[in-house]
Subunit: 115 residues, 2 copies
DNA sequence: GTAAGGTCTGACAGCGCTGTCAGGGTCAAG
DNA sequence: CTTGACCCTGACAGCGCTGTCAGACCTTAC
């Protein structure tokens, strides 16, 4: 399918689909005229990227993760990293939550002192 | 005092002190030769900016807040906004925490499925 | 053949800071 | 008077996307 249709089906903008490719997360076939030609596997990949992205991951991180998430991937080497990366991401998120909680405390303190 | 000293005393970079000014949060005197000349009030303001900033607030938001936080400010009008802004910020933080929590859940799910 | 709509690449802009560099004055001490 | 440390302004860059626009080609259908 062409990029417009994939965009409609995944809810990812055409701009971002091209960006994914530029960042090495996607490598669709090309028609003779140079149009990108995506298959079902690519569509699935886009959905995965979208999900990981919604989990706050950077495209760069997703890229490192992607090879491990592919169906029936027999290459376990990079997947040793998988757990490490995921755990690291969870740690990052925990840090951010902690920071935000502190901010919340500060602001809430201000709030109550204004009452 | 000059900008370098203020920077040392507050831990805010010279670059950022000038940026605060550019954004309208600070308006130090100037010497004849054009040097910025900060007084104790300014130093205090910088500390407030720093604290509010560490609470995750945008400089623009801080700017709106600042007039209300100044000592003995007789102008109560803008301070009606104070509570509103603070509450709004707390709401924003809560949203972000919520989003991060969801991300955490997604990633933790991945993690456990990899075990 | 022509028009509409889709696609291509490349580039600029914006978010909110923050560092850094260039080119040029100022101030203090020796 | 010279040197070194400090200050000034203005501008470029980077983070990680994301939108948008320009100029040009492709495709489909009438």
């Amino acid at each position: 399918m062409k990029i417009g249709e994939l965009s409609r089906r995944t809810g990812v903008s055409v701009r971002m689909l091209r960006y994914y490719e530029a960042e090495g997360l996607l490598a669709p076939q090309r028609t003779d005229s140079g149009y990108r030609d995506y298959g079902p596997a690519e569509e699935e990949t886009v959905r995965r990227i979208k999900m990981l992205g919604s989990a706050g991951m950077t495209l760069e991180t997703i890229q490192r993760l992607l090879p491990c998430v592919k169906n029936n991937n027999p290459d376990f080497r990079p997947c040793d990293d998988l757990r490490r990366i995921l755990a690291q991401q969870v740690g990052l998120i925990d840090e951010r939550i902690e920071t935000l909680s502190q901010s919340r405390t500060i602001l809430a303190g201000f709030l109550s002192s204004v009452n």
